[in-house]
């Protein structure tokens, strides 16, 4: 009896193996008769669409695309970027007819690139990386601009002159944010310092909250974050302290501590890109948009923010948008006091994208590699 079942089993397995090997592969973008199929957009998300953070902002843009252009979208949440799981997800989305793929985490990059080479008919838009291809572009926003503005708010608010920063991974994007924030802080409060704690996670409510608690214990009275949960803001609220959020406006979740947050507004960019695919004019062009495009912005200041902050923020925001000022304008010193950016010059995009040093005023270090 058992032997028979076993034989049947092996036969089934061999059969499935044959199926995988010599069956015809599905052709994305066509309906089998060679006709162009409608555009269908797949999203690969690092977090969950209701994380009130990074992925939430992307999911809002997905809904915006659906609403504006009437195209069908699919998404998959909580796809890890510390292994190759996104490959299976991307294959599955393409298998379900997607011909445009958005992937929203840095760690997906290599795998997205691999998929881009394997599926030349599919368009890939990868967030925050640098590897590109004929059919793969990278897009991101100059989040350092609103971070600088949020630093102004924090610098004016702090009484202990100690500000905590809960940070995810020691990569250029995060380091750039910490530097921009610190420059903002010290533009209004040269005595304040920003202490950094690395969590080595993008999304982990408990770890991030604990990191914030450790900073509060050291006397920090404003907590900023490069994390995708509201954990640090909650910790500040519980201690009666103040917080700068990230990704989206969370004033309704943590009304006690939230002052403002640098936020994403992906909708218009996503819609524009998908429209280009529909029109057949899409090209692989990397994009790094700033406040002038509205892709990044600062959330409205709440009543927790110092009163005088609004005026200063508005002033600097206008300068950034007009192009009169950008964050990394000299003179800028590094942690040991050496001039890194001399007066009269500024960092190029390339230098910003590969930033691996902290500005003066940051307490903490970047793990050696």
């Amino acid at each position: 009896m058992r032997k028979k079942i076993f034989c049947v089993l092996i036969a089934v397995l061999c059969f499935t193996m044959l199926l995988t090997s010599c069956g015809e592969t599905s052709k994305p973008g066509t309906d089998g008769q060679g006709n162009e199929k409608k555009v269908k957009v797949g999203f690969v998300f690092i977090g969950s669409g209701n994380d009130a953070g990074y992925t939430y902002a992307h999911d809002q843009a997905r809904l915006y695309v659906e609403e504006k252009l009437g195209v069908e979208t699919l998404y998959q949440e909580n796809v890890s970027d510390s292994d190759n799981s996104c490959i299976a997800v991307i294959q599955s989305l393409i298998d379900q007819g997607c011909n445009v793929i958005f992937a929203n985490s840095f760690g997906y990059m290599e795998y997205v690139h691999e998929m881009a080479l394997a599926y030349p008919d599919v368009k890939f838009l990868h967030c925050s990386g640098y590897l590109d291809a004929e059919n793969m572009l990278n897009y991101f926003g100059r989040m350092y601009q609103p971070r600088y503005l949020s630093g102004i708010v924090a610098g004016m608010k702090t009484e202990t002159n100690k500000i905590g920063y809960v940070a995810a991974h020691p990569i250029a994007e995060v380091i750039r944010g910490i530097n921009a924030f610190t420059l903002g802080v010290r533009s209004v409060n040269p005595d304040a310092t920003v202490e950094v704690v690395w969590t080595n996670t993008w999304y982990d409510p408990a770890t991030e909250k604990n990191a914030a608690i450790a900073l509060l214990d050291k006397g920090c009275d404003v907590i900023a974050q490069h994390q995708d949960t509201t954990g640090p803001q909650l910790a500040a609220q519980e201690r009666g302290k103040w917080a700068i959020g990230y990704n989206c406006d969370t004033s309704d979740i943590v009304p006690g501590s939230f002052m403002t947050a640098p936020v994403w507004n992906w909708g218009p960019y996503y819609a524009e890109q998908v429209q280009k695919v529909i029109d057949g004019t899409w090209k692989s062009e990397n994009y790094w948009g700033g406040m002038e495009d509205g892709v990044v912005d600062l959330a409205p200041l709440t009543k927790n923010a110092p009163e005088s902050a609004q005026e200063k923020v508005d002033e600097m925001k206008a300068k950034i948008i007009s192009g009169e000022f950008d964050v990394f304008y000299g003179p800028i010193k590094d942690q040991s006091g050496n001039i890194k950016v001399p007066e009269g010059s500024s960092l190029t995009d390339k230098e910003m994208l590969s930033m691996d040093w902290f500005v003066e005023g940051v307490i903490g270090n970047i793990p050696q590699q």
Partner: protein
């Protein structure tokens, strides 16, 4: 109410119980799906479609099946001896680690030998990770469940340390990722799927033969039934325990090698992806039989792949899909209880019975 040991459950009874369990799982999860606002029939058919509906999906399902099968074989050997090896995760990780060491740090091995050496080293590393608790168990009677479990955490932290620290790829602009393996350390593709599939099928046959036909296999089963009997029969219990755990951990180690060189193409702390834990379930459901473990792993892979598919196809939140998988599992594992025990509704007085427990 009384719970009584079922002395010998007939095949017919087992099948009936299992069928009822699957039906119960369907009913309970239908309820949940309806609550979420979906049509249960659509969801179930999509799960099947998502696992077997196209080449890419079948491939994805087989990719889940391969590690589950091999890890299950490893777990089976330990469990057959009633040694509760909960350390599959750690053994997978250590196998993966040593293989990665060969792939990334050793460059004097001729390239055609790299993969074989990786497999041997991976087997030994997984085996060694199981040998530690086996030695303490055989020598001092230490609790192997706790020890294997704790060794999991050491392995995870070790790989995490490497990934965030000394092995981090400096080219990755600070992102914690270990460099990809060179070409000669990657498993070749056969019929569009990596060679791990063939290896897993071969291992099923080998382990079946080992457990059924060899002296060592027989000894393992005897030690599992009764150590006293084994000793009386003149068996060297110490060496049987050590051998079994070495093979058990070694098979998990091989799972790690396959997952790194066939799937991830590098080492990550995620490489075990819970296969070592899931294999405990699949091993148990297979009744500790190697061929059946293949079938159970295949079915389980359908559940995993189908569950992942419905997230994107029907836009069911990932947490809801996880709950769904959990409920199906709960019912099927719960049925195990009824295979082993019988519930009898009687008068208050418990009747005295050999293996009876009143409750």
């Amino acid at each position: 109410m009384q719970i009584i040991n079922r002395p010998g459950t007939s095949i017919k009874q087992v099948i009936t119980i299992r069928v009822i369990a699957i039906m119960a799982a369907a009913v309970v999860s239908s309820f949940l799906i309806t609550l979420l606002g979906y049509n249960p029939l659509v969801v179930f058919s999509n799960m099947i479609k998502g696992a077997l509906g196209s080449n890419i999906r079948i491939k994805a399902t087989l990719l889940e099946m391969i590690p589950l099968t091999i890890a299950s074989l490893g777990i089976i050997i330990a469990f057959k001896m009633k040694l509760w090896n909960i350390g599959g995760e750690g053994q997978i990780l250590m196998g993966a680690f040593d293989a990665s060491f060969i792939a990334l740090k050793v460059d004097w091995i001729p390239s055609f030998l790299v993969l074989p050496v990786m497999f041997i080293v991976g087997f030994l590393a997984g085996g060694l990770w199981a040998f530690i608790p086996a030695f303490f168990k055989a020598r001092f009677g230490a609790n192997e469940t706790i020890m294997t479990l704790m060794l999991n955490y050491i392995a995870i932290q070790w790989i995490t340390y490497l990934q965030y620290g000394p092995w981090r790829d400096p080219k990755n602009m600070g992102f914690p990722k270990i460099p990809n393996f060179p070409k000669e350390a990657l498993l070749p593709q056969i019929f569009g799927i990596h060679a791990g599939l063939i290896i897993s099928l071969v291992l099923v046959v080998v382990i079946t033969w080992f457990m059924k036909k060899t002296k060592k296999g027989f000894e393992i089963a005897v030690v599992g039934e009764s150590v006293a009997t084994a000793k009386y029969a003149g068996m060297d219990v110490f060496s049987v325990i050590i051998t079994a755990m070495l093979i058990s951990g070694g098979l998990c180690g091989i799972t790690g090698v396959i997952q790194t060189s066939g799937v991830n193409k590098t080492l990550t702390f995620n490489v075990s992806s819970g296969y070592g834990n899931t294999a405990i379930i699949t091993a148990w459901l297979s009744g500790l039989s190697a061929p059946w473990a293949l079938l159970v792993s295949f079915l389980f892979a359908i559940l995993l792949q189908g569950g992942s598919y419905i997230q994107s196809a029907l836009q069911i939140p990932s947490s809801a899909a996880d709950v769904l998988q959990g409920m199906i599992l709960f019912c099927i594992l719960g049925s195990e209880f009824f295979v082993r025990y019988k519930v009898r509704f009687t008068a208050k007085k418990p009747v005295s019975n050999g293996g009876a427990k009143a409750c």
